[in-house]
């Protein structure tokens, strides 16, 4: 008893009590410091990754272009003068470019040198001229001036990725080619322009002609299938299991299995898709439909688990209120529980979709890794997806694909960022207080 009386009479901050308080504050400060350090380290890693990608990839958004005069010689393009679209498409535009280049470098002689000097321009030059003629046949016979893409080596030289100061034997661009390039630049015919082709073209073997659009469209179509399959299935499953199903051994078993499915490596889903969708159902290879179905299988457990958590988080008082008003179970669920759980369900679904967007392994198994030059137009067309495109480009030998790989990663990250932003917006939009 005397002890208690003593502590009561001592001032608040004195002796052992003061020591304890100091220790407690010190512990709290330490804990905060650890947290801060952890945050800083993770931000540093993220910044490092972004920095490396952006510093490698930003040059891909520019492309070296060469300004050329092309004489659209009627005797080459349309000797019969029929202006028939088939004839125009088949004409030898390469010969026109050859003539143009010969005009730029009259001093170059010899077959090998002539071919080399032509190689300074991308084969895309030929396609661009053809596209112009096909668009407007009245140009035939006239001289036109246009910017055409330079070859990838030319482009990389200008961007500094191929260095001039190394010996010729170690350089992809010979001294002769360097001289030609310098003469072009002196004439002011070379310019770095915004690389629109990167955003409008499909895959190509020529780095300067390769674009991301095919893969982006492939990803979009695939994700659309994924969403349409997994979102309704996921919500219905979660709602049924959470609100209607009796709690017994069977539903426990189902729950355990769903949790296990969420942890299955994605390549296994790819193998499943290969066995079921391709071999058993005979769906086409490399199609966004199959990719979407496989990714839907993979996303489904995520959506179910997050939706169930969101449904569980709806306060029981709201259910009671609705039941007390005489609402049926379906009405309680449809009018109150699901709308209140919607922000959580949507966030979970979008996180699942973002995961699916970044998934490569299962798509490899069902053939979406093929080289597809055309931009897919439907769910059954062969297609690739963004992460697969990154994988393919990272695997390519040309120096110019390095920057394009990083650029493709940036596009992929931008899509992910937009999706996450959308998730945040939806959560704010649907959030209600109770």
């Amino acid at each position: 008893m005397t002890d208690i009386a003593e502590t009561r009479t001592t001032p608040l901050a004195a002796g052992r009590a003061a020591d304890r308080i100091r220790k407690r504050y010190a512990a709290e400060r330490r804990f905060r410091l650890y947290g801060l350090v952890a945050v800083c380290v993770s931000i540093a890693f993220l910044a490092l990754m972004l920095l490396s990608i952006v510093s490698k990839g930003y040059t891909a958004f520019q492309q070296t272009m060469v300004y050329v005069d092309v004489h659209l010689d009627e005797s080459v393009i349309d000797p019969k003068g029929s202006r028939n679209a088939d004839d125009l498409a088949r004409a030898n535009y390469g010969a026109l470019i050859r003539k143009t280049v010969a005009g730029l470098f009259p001093e170059v002689s010899g077959r090998r040198d002539k071919r080399k000097v032509r190689k300074l321009l991308s084969p895309g030059a030929t396609y661009d001229v053809r596209a112009m003629v096909m668009d407007d046949p009245s140009l035939i016979g006239k001289r036109i001036s246009l910017w055409v893409p330079a070859s990838d080596d030319f482009d990389q030289l200008l961007k500094g990725n191929i260095r001039r100061d190394v010996p010729e034997s170690d350089r992809r661009v010979s001294d002769k080619e360097l001289a030609w390039i310098d003469s072009l630049m002196e004439k002011g015919l070379v310019e770095k322009q915004f690389n629109t082709r990167f955003f409008t073209a499909g895959a190509s073997q020529e780095p300067e002609l390769a674009g991301i659009l095919g893969a982006a469209v492939g990803s979009f179509l695939t994700l659309l299938v994924t969403f349409l399959v997994s979102f309704p299935l996921g919500i219905m499953t979660a709602t049924y299991l959470e609100e209607f199903a009796p709690k017994n051994r069977w539903t426990d078993l189902i729950e355990v299995n769903i949790n296990n499915l969420a942890a299955v490596p994605s390549i296994v889903f790819g193998l499943l898709g290969l066995a079921v969708f391709l071999n058993f159902f005979g769906l086409p290879r490399s199609a966004p439909l199959v990719g979407g179905l496989v990714l839907a299988l993979m996303t489904l457990p995520t959506i179910i688990i997050t939706s169930r958590a969101a449904l569980k988080a709806v306060p029981p008082s709201i259910r009671e209120a609705a039941f007390g008003m005489g609402a049926s179970r379906l009405q309680v669920v449809v009018h109150h529980v699901v709308p209140l759980a919607m922000p959580g369900i949507l966030t979970g679904s979008i996180i699942g979709m973002a995961q699916a967007l970044g998934e490569t392994a299962p798509l490899l198994m069902i053939g979406m890794v093929a080289f597809v030059a055309d931009i897919p137009t439907g769910f059954f067309d062969p297609a690739t997806a963004l992460p697969v495109q990154v994988y393919l480009w990272a695997d390519s030998a040309e120096r110019a694909f390095v920057e394009r790989t990083s650029a493709a990663i940036m596009v992929l990250l931008a899509f992910l960022f937009i999706m996450n932003l959308f998730a945040v917006y939806l959560r704010k939009r649907f959030e209600r207080r109770w």
């Binding site: 709690k247 709201i318 009671e320 209120a321 008003m325 005489g326 009405q331 009018h335 207080r433 109770w434």
Partner: protein, 266 residues
């Protein structure tokens, strides 16, 4: 089982019973929560259920509109008659029952919707109205009856969750009234409210008993004494004593009742 000590002291002509419970046993899984409860609830009067925590008073209240149906493993034996109809009859639709027996909960639980939609929800799901005008009328009269109309008439489209605690509880009462129930069950409606809001609700209960049969569970014996005409005292799942409120409080026959109301336990 030993006969439950129970005395009904007649002080006035016995009012018509609205609800008649006979030998009600209630189980949560293996655990029995109510033992052989017999109780008559008088029409257009306030009946208070009192007793210490866990005595079964809320459980009994929830038996009256079958709110326990939702709980897994809950089971009721015996009969509860509403106007001579067994509410545990298989043929009876629980949705219809809950339209006739409304409920107000311990914690105000308005839907996270507008004030208007809160009141209109019941009439909408039960299809009570055909036109917008009728619905507007129901919303207005329900809010008036709940004494909330003057406070919220200008902001019917604002969220019900934005009101104060006492206002939210009156909103919940208005919501229950909107479907014109015959019985209103109140489960400690004032336990989350301050004394002024409590006084308003009690006043409201007094007015409502003109038209509705009210059963109220309360922890406050003063409240039971103030608002109710009949009081039932529950202890350990059994109905110990039931009678006119003034008799229960002034002249309890059972010593457990006496112990509880004088504050010796509970």
């Amino acid at each position: 089982m030993a006969a439950v000590e129970q005395t009904i002291v007649e002080t006035q002509p016995a009012p018509v019973p609205k609800i008649t419970a006979r030998s009600v046993d209630m189980y949560y899984g293996e655990k029995q929560a109510l033992f052989d409860v017999d109780l008559d609830v008088a029409e257009r009067h306030v009946t208070a259920l009192i007793g210490p925590s866990g005595c079964g008073k809320s459980t009994f209240l929830r038996c009256i509109n079958r709110m326990n149906d939702v709980i897994d493993g809950a089971r009721v034996e015996g009969t509860i008659m509403l106007d001579g109809e067994n509410i545990y009859d298989k043929a009876l639709d629980v949705v219809q029952l809950r339209a006739r027996v409304g409920m107000v909960f311990q914690k105000p639980n308005p839907f996270p919707k507008s004030i208007y939609d809160n009141i209109a929800y019941g009439p909408r799901i039960h299809g009570l109205t055909d036109t917008k005008d009728e619905l507007d009328h129901i919303v207005a009269t329900s809010l008036e009856k709940a004494g909330l109309w003057n406070e919220v008439r200008d902001r019917l489209q604002e969220p019900g969750t934005g009101l104060s605690g006492g206002q939210q509880q009156r909103l919940c009462i208005a919501r229950a009234i909107a479907v014109s129930p015959e019985v209103i069950l109140m489960d400690e409606p004032c336990s989350a409210l301050d004394p002024i809001a409590t006084a308003k609700i009690e006043e409201l209960i007094d007015e409502l008993k003109e038209n509705y049969t009210i059963v109220i569970v309360t922890h406050s014996m003063q409240q039971a004494a103030r608002v109710s005409q009949f009081t039932a005292f529950f202890h350990l799942g059994k109905l110990v004593e039931y009678g006119a409120t003034e008799n229960i409080f002034t002249n309890p026959t059972d010593e457990r009742t006496q112990g509880y109301i004088t504050g010796r336990f509970g």
